[in-house]
Symmetry: C2
Subunit: 199 residues, 2 copies
């Protein structure tokens, strides 16, 4: 594992800076160390869709490692962020030498894939209010009833496949029903998680 640290190096990005963007060659794995990164695409008609949101420990760029290609999404730091970068050429030999690393990455892929398929299912079958409710409840930390949004509501809307207006209204409706309460822009108290999930 020391060999990994040896071949990786740390890069820092200021808020708003991009790790990569479409058409950049994709040849490195990025592991977020500190800060947050949003991964998004533009659809043909110019709409932006948030695909993933990375916090410390999450990684991106892994597609690159197994089939040389170009990026088709943007990766943007949402605040000052530090990431570990490992290039494909440095990593491949390690994978061949230490199968355990491959297994680790496979497990992570497996998680991501499951996550992604779940997300598709949600967007395809649940109405906005339910998706939003689930998202909020998943944000809760053990023993707290305050959900802290990791991103702007605009991005949240994009992530959930809806619009900021609709998010605003749905949150309003939930608050009217006493299910949640706004603490601040990014903080929402969940008063009744069970009822929230039932719709």
């Amino acid at each position: 594992m020391d060999e990994i640290s040896a071949t990786a190096h740390t890069r820092r990005f200021k808020k708003g800076e991009r790790l990569y963007q479409p058409l950049d060659e994709s040849d490195s794995l990025y592991i977020v160390h500190k800060g947050f990164v949003r991964i998004y695409r533009l659809t043909e008609n110019g709409k932006e869709q948030l695909v993933r949101f990375l916090g410390p420990g999450d990684f991106t760029g892994e597609m690159a490692l197994f089939r040389s290609s170009l990026h088709d999404s943007f990766a943007e730091a949402t605040r000052d962020t530090a990431v570990c970068v490992i290039t494909k050429d440095d990593l491949q030999p390690l994978l061949a030498t230490y199968p355990a690393i491959s297994l680790k990455i496979l497990a992570e892929f497996s998680n991501r894939l499951e996550q992604s398929e779940r997300q598709t299912t949600l967007v395809a079958t649940e109405k906005v209010e339910n998706r939003l409710a689930m998202f909020l409840v998943e944000l809760l930390e053990e023993g707290s009833n305050i959900a802290t949004l990791p991103m702007t509501k605009k991005d949240l809307a994009s992530f959930l496949g809806t619009t900021p207006e609709t998010i605003s209204r749905k949150l309003g409706a939930m608050e009217d029903r006493g299910l949640i309460r706004h603490i601040s822009n990014r903080e929402i108290a969940i008063m009744d998680a069970d009822e929230l999930l039932l719709g």
Copy 2:
């Protein structure tokens, strides 16, 4: 590679039979040899969502291999189908011995993940008519303008995150505009792919 064949064995499923279902222990990789398999989930309110559709060469069950768990979806043969089955216990040693296999699987995962994220983006940002149009055009084989549906329209609706009624109507509208033509239940001639994709 001979070792793989040695540890795998073939199982046959009749149309409608299940390879696995939720709560079954997930400990095998299934590679479709002949036939088709649909993978779907039930949402809380009993609605069914088609997650993937496998043809010859596709595989499922891989989640199982890296983190022991239970299935959370149904895998059902849509016609008489033959699959190769390899258990986790048989595969893991092979992975450790031959890193090339891991790399192969990683590459496949990578494809699937990309596919899945693209699917999420589509469902989240495009309206039904566009999703449907894209799906049809992707079905086209080189040099032909006939799209052959690999599944029922009911399943197609589920896959695209809509209802059979809406599929029916959208196809009707496309036909009225002269963009497509129904050949048979499962075959659709694409008269003007470009126009179709523009909406």
